[in-house]
């Protein structure tokens, strides 16, 4: 079986569509509500879902996701419960590619072997680990060589410079281009060299180039539409869910609109 993310990216390329990816913290408003939100987003036509595994010390996140993580931990969300959620979602026939966005300690504490086994068993397609830069990935990559293991998504930043070719060397799925310096959820704060930087990545990347951090509406990425293959919305989506009592309908409307507008840019 090919990886769901890679299949999706291939399909999008054939259709000449851009990918729309959302982030939401697992376990909010509760596990049942969280499942409904996943279904709604799949229905809305998102291409990949980033499911945030809450951690006590999310140093790559701004206040919105910090707060969501805190709320979710208070509700008792942990990795074990998210694996159960994943299995339930997959049992319902959801084939949406799902990526865990998590901090390395959560996986490490769980035990890397066991973690990867559970990812395979529950249908996790990818991992985004913002505190695991290229130089520290060896230990995990060794275990991810297993069949059907999730892809480790690579992140690049506006100041990655000459590190970009090295990071992209064996990157799979898509490359996550952070739009600015710092943490998630700083709207309208793209790096001053954003165009140049994304072009540089686009030039050397064999896989789709997807931009995240600080995006709210599809039009936010209009100036970059020629150099990116998709967009990720996290903090803004969480705020929207919070403001709408986590109603699946709100998620559905927002995601459908964004996906449509993204491909009309």
């Amino acid at each position: 079986m090919t990886n769901r993310i890679e299949q999706k990216m291939l399909a999008l390329r054939e259709k000449k569509e851009k990918a729309f990816i959302t982030y939401m913290t697992a376990g909010l408003p509760d596990m049942a509500g969280c499942k409904k939100l996943v279904y709604a987003q799949e229905q809305a036509g998102i291409d990949v879902l980033e499911l945030g595994i809450p951690f006590s010390d999310p140093i790559a996140d701004g206040p919105v996701i910090q707060n969501a993580s805190y709320q979710s931990i208070q509700l008792g969300t942990n990795l074990k419960k998210v694996f159960v959620l994943m299995k339930e979602i997959r049992a319902k026939g959801v084939e949406l590619p799902i990526v865990f966005m998590m901090y390395y300690n959560t996986a490490l504490y769980f035990g890397l072997q066991q973690f990867v086994e559970e990812c395979i068993a529950s249908g996790v397609d990818g991992l985004i680990i913002p505190d695991l830069p290229l130089e520290e990935q060896g230990e995990l990559k060794e275990i991810l060589k297993r069949e059907n293991a999730p892809i480790l998504i690579q992140l690049v930043s506006p100041v990655s410079g000459d590190r970009i070719p090295r990071i992209l060397e064996d990157a799979r799925g898509f490359v996550y281009c952070v739009s600015g310096m710092g943490v998630t959820g700083q709207s309208g704060n793209f790096h001053r060299r954003i165009q140049q930087y994304l072009s540089e990545v686009k030039k050397v990347s064999k896989i789709p180039v997807i931009m995240g951090f600080g995006i709210e509406q599809a039009k936010d990425v209009a100036p970059m539409k020629d150099v990116i293959d998709g967009a990720i919305v996290g903090s803004h989506f969480i705020k929207l869910l919070e403001a709408n009592d986590y109603l699946p309908k709100a998620a559905l409307e927002y995601c459908s609109t964004f996906k449509k507008e993204l491909n009309e840019l």
Binding site: D57, N105, L132, G138, S160, V178
Partner: protein, 397 residues
Amino acid sequence: MKKDHKKYFGGFGGQFVSESLMNTLEELDQVYEEVIHEEAFLTQYGYYMKQYVGRENPLYYAENLSKAYGTKIYLKREDLNHTGAHKINNVIGQILLAKRMGKKKVIAETGAGQHGVATATGAALFGMECTVFMGEEDMQRQQLNVFRMEMLGTTVACVRSGSKTLKDATNEAIRTWAKTAEDTFYVVGSAVGPYPYPKIVKEFQSVISRESKKQILEAEGRLPDVVMACVGGGSNSIGMFADFIEEPSVKLIGVEAAGLGIETGKHASAMALGKPGILHGMRSYLLQDEDGNIQIAHSISAGLDYPGVGPEHAYLKDSGRAEYVSVTDKEAMEALQELCRLEGIIPAIESAHAIAYAKKQAQNMKEDEIMIVCLSGRGDKDVHTVADYMAGKGYLN
């Protein structure tokens, strides 16, 4: 596994940070390696250590304490430094580095406020804009230091997330740094964080053991039997150990905070019960819950109230070169009062933890054996906490 061994102490250390900081850390390491062998830089650093910080400070033979505890006790008087603690040794070094790198702004995290005050001081001296991140709870415990920082022209940013103490102040400092690294230098206050910080902090704090070694040889004509220091993140202790690590006859003891007692779960002893994990860019021993979330540390001392420990300490523990023990709030407060009355020295509550264990350790030592205890800071900042404690009001956290 491709692992860069210079970035690790055994299995501890590393660089667990966002991609956006990797080039910054690389540049920092390059500049550091360049200047640390450069005579002009070392002369400049030495000048400020002598003329501004007031080094060398005494290795004081605490005669009354020695008599009371039954062994020879020397106190390394870091409390006599300008700003009242060992923190300034490291700050001056890092700010000189920041200047060399052309940075105009500095940021820092602080627990007890000593590192914050030292950074505010260094920033004032070298004309840099400074912001210090401090947990809301620590700001209440250490109001005097907050005021000192503000007098020195620093902005104190109140951190209300998570535990509202040093752990979260550090998170916020790292987040801000990731945002501003292009023009801002992060002055890390303890021997923690991603490589090369633990190495840099150790180098600038090793002046403590360099002086102590020379001073004890002058006073006693031999090396000490025991060297002891308190451990939060572990900067005064790694500085106190540094020049003795290669002296196998010297026993090294690090004293962590046991808070209300290790058995109560309300403590700050990462080495006693902690498991290896990742926090603040490093792999080290940490207090964690059953899901791998970082637990809140508890200690009467804001400076030791940290759920992790520097990676080199984790290595020294695992390799058996150093021993790590812990003392409770109560033991530390008794030792603090005892040092006041016996020697006329009011120690910081952090340092009082080392004094408390010195009393225990002395029971296993002969009268003519020698112990050096690092008196890492003075207690002026703590008088309110001590007063509340003595009045039976306990303490925050």
